[in-house]
Amino acid sequence: MTQPLKQHLIDPEICIRCYTCEMTCPEQAIEHDDMNVVVDADKCKFCMDCIPVCPTGSIDNWRVVAEPYSLEEQYGWTDLPPQEDVAGDDAGLEALDDAIAALLAEAHKGAGGKSRAPATASKPSVNLYTLGKPAEARVTGNYRLTAEDSDSDVRHIILDFGAQPFPVLEGQSIGIIPPGTNSEGRAHLPRLYSVSSPRDGERPNFNNLSLTVKREPHGICSNYVCDLKPGDTVRVTGPFGATFLMPSDPNAHLLMICTGTGSAPFRAFTMRRQRENPKLTNSLTLVFGARRQQELPYFGPLGKVPESFMAKHFAFSRQKDEPKHYVQDKLRAQSERIGQLLQNPATHIYVCGLKAMEQGVEEALKDIARAQGLVWTDLRDRMRDEGRYHLETY
């Protein structure tokens, strides 16, 4: 079977035929007749040059197809065809290559059903770069986030994409291809890392992004990434992920629950909100667990985010002279507040971190829901179907 592919299409119902996209496209992939403006799937290289110049938003449409729609088919349309069920593409649009799609499906499994993006999330770009055609990024920074005396080595890595378009949304992941080959002499497959910077870059309007990576003993890729030096180049695939995204609606309240490097997407969410709507109050709630304060990534910068903007609850399980606290304990301690959030239709819940945290969080939310007279699994399923419950664990 041929690999399904993502096809760029223009919505003929919304397009006003100004042909600005056609004049902008450096590949001459866009053409028109008296009816429609269409995109040639053989020529489109996903450079995204046409996206900002479109006055209508009709240009920003994508379908995953087994066979691309021909120009003739597109010329005949009066509206866009719905997304067909593409065989073997169970994970929807999260990723186009099977291995990555399977990884993401596994990471989202704990949500109890098919994940959906928040209703007001921006449309993600997926799989612009592949193993066969990766992007090349230059390392411009590598900073240790955990205390020097800690045995936990978590790093903040900054990658610059230069002139290559690499549009990512907060919550998406990218693949890093470690150099070398495995024991069978084959090239390594990419490892997935959540992006920890907002969509306009670690530094606004620089074409760069950041990752939050923990060094794992014997981890081929994590050791490679944690040892990178400024100036090194890395091969990158992606971006991946189309559901674990933040809503654009500034009134949506985000409840973010994480441990360790699971904080990466939440750093991105928080920075996006701060850049977009810095004056919001009671906009976010973060419940963040680590062993000790010295091992909690971004503890310093988090302290600078006003409590009025984001309520922060830290849980430390190995703090000296303190009882062990896990994220579920913090949830229970705030049960009244969390209960209110569960009742609020503007609330979006995100859980990200190690698989081990899933059960405890689930139990706590179940109890809090019960106290509100709610059945957690029903609520969770409804929230998930509405794109308001998201889980990514590994």
């Binding site: 119902e13 919304i14 006003i16 008296d34 995204m48 209508t56 938003g57």
Partner: protein, 483 residues
């Protein structure tokens, strides 16, 4: 090395033309700048000037950087001088100098012709802002208000673009012309704007949508043909302006489309199938389709007049000189000189409209107008699709080019919208069915009540299908300053 892609903010005037190294022009523009700011400040009511508007601004002229959205107070909008990147080895695309390298300086023999074209184009830009200055008071939504302001600030920037060319390439008389662009006022008795359609007021939002659809489309066609100019700075200026102009087309097409959509919706909800059941339809607070046809007749025909005479030696000279091309000149397969070619134009013979062949060189205006009509007809077809979707038996049509004309061979002749000659009496009798009457205007005016709640829309217009910059439906596009 000069950075000619990214916008430089090292002078008061954002630009990608290296202004900071061009002291003479910079000084002239800085002298002109306060007059511009005064003009802007006197124009739009103060509470809107103080409001935060979600606008797009170009931070560079390459596709990635030219549409950055953010809140800004309009007087603080970064108007600037932005030219599309220079194309290496560009040649003159038409006329007797066809194939020679494009001019980077004004060719002496065409100086006056060029200046006049730039001044006429420049004069329309502030004129439309003047015509639309009070519309925000009756905006049907914050979304529409934002779109209006985006159109306004970009028309302001287009004025900047033309003023830059005048200052940079036309010396002292260029500077005088630039000052006059701020001196003339739309509708003024003493110093009106240069073209008729730009002295009419834009009294209501349907007129605004019709204006942006039909009249701004003339602007687009003019820009398209100036973008083909052998005078490279003019070509580059117009190419970048066209990207912005596309937004104005969008506002017009979707504005009229949403008005139609709402009318059809309300008709269906109330079981009205007859589009001519006007009293009942108006009783429901929406704009009847026959009135939309009348508005269309008015704005289309006013816009046709902007193309000038069907047969014109001025246009022939401009084409032959290589300073104004045809629509999509580069895609036309001919010799680009038109020495022996002919073109079919309308003429008046024995009081009837007939078509005849004339030398193609003299029919440049007519050809551009035909391209315009074709372009304009496309959107009308898409409006009809909306009506069809609701199963209502009504079809909007562009009227015949002979109808209601003030310029050209049909000027002031009694043609009906189908292009038939009628008697004076028949013409007077038909007029209330062909063009909006005072009563029609009053009715539309009665609907013009502001709707300033985020996500809400006046009753007579449907919400858009997609938000600007992918924003959700209740996004606060304008944070109103209510002091």
């Amino acid at each position: 090395m000069l950075d000619l892609i990214n916008v430089s903010y090292d002078t008061q005037i954002p630009n990608n033309v290296g202004l900071s190294q061009d002291k003479k022009v910079l000084k002239a523009l800085e002298k002109w700048h306060p007059g511009y700011i005064n003009w802007w400040n006197d124009l739009i009511p103060q509470n809107f000037q103080q409001s935060m508007v979600y606008l797009r601004t170009a931070v560079s002229v390459d596709p990635k950087g030219w549409a950055k959205f953010d809140y800004v107070k309009m007087p603080e909008y970064r108007w600037g001088v932005l030219l599309a990147p220079q194309v290496d080895g560009r040649t003159i695309p038409c006329g007797e100098h066809f194939g020679q390298p494009a001019w980077q300086e004004v060719p002496g023999e065409y100086r006056n012709l060029l200046k006049r074209l730039i001044v006429i184009q420049g004069d329309t830009e502030p004129a439309s802002v003047e015509q639309q200055r009070l519309l925000a008071l009756t905006a049907p939504s914050l979304y529409d208000m934002r779109n209006l302001f985006q159109v306004n600030v970009e028309e302001g920037r287009h004025l900047w673009a033309m003023v830059y060319l005048l200052h940079k390439y036309f010396g002292r008389d260029g500077r005088e012309e630039a000052d006059d662009l701020l001196r003339r006022q739309s509708g003024s008795e003493e110093a009106p704007r240069m073209l008729g359609a730009f002295n009419e007021e834009t009294p209501d939002w349907l007129s605004f949508f019709m204006f942006t659809y039909f009249t701004d489309r003339d602007g687009k066609m003019q820009l398209e043909s100036l973008a083909q100019s052998g005078f490279d700075p003019l070509s580059r200026t117009c190419r970048f302006m066209l990207t912005e102009e596309a937004h104005h087309m969008f506002v017009g097409e979707t504005g009229v489309g949403r008005t139609i959509e709402r009318t059809c919706q309300v008709m269906k909800e109330n079981g009205i199938d007859d589009p001519f059941d006007i009293d009942r339809i108006r009783g429901l607070g929406v704009i009847d389709l026959p009135l939309i046809q009348k508005k269309l007749n008015l704005h289309y025909t006013l816009s046709l007049d902007l193309f000038g005479q069907e047969v014109s030696t001025n246009a022939a000279n401009a084409f032959n000189a290589g300073i104004k091309g045809r629509y999509m000149e580069a895609r036309i397969q001919d010799d680009h000189q038109l020495q022996g070619d002919t073109y079919v134009v309308w003429d008046l013979v024995d009081g009837k409209a007939v078509q005849k062949e004339v030398p193609a060189l003299t029919a440049i205006n007519m050809r551009l107008r035909d391209d315009y009509t074709k372009d304009a007809a496309g959107g009308v077809g898409r409006w009809n699709k909306i009506i069809e979707k609701y199963g209502i038996d009504f079809e909007l049509k562009l009227p015949h080019e002979a109808f209601h004309r003030k310029i050209g061979v049909f000027a002031n002749m009694p043609f009906d919208p189908d292009g038939q000659v009628v008697t004076g009496a028949e013409f007077d009798k038909g007029l209330p069915d062909w063009l909006p009457t005072h009563a029609d205007g009053d009715y539309i005016q009665s609907l013009m009540k502001p709707c300033y709640e985020p996500g809400e829309f006046a009753r007579w217009i449907a919400p858009p299908k997609v938000g600007i910059d992918n924003k959700p439906g209740d996004f606060e596009y304008v944070k109103l300053h209510m002091a």
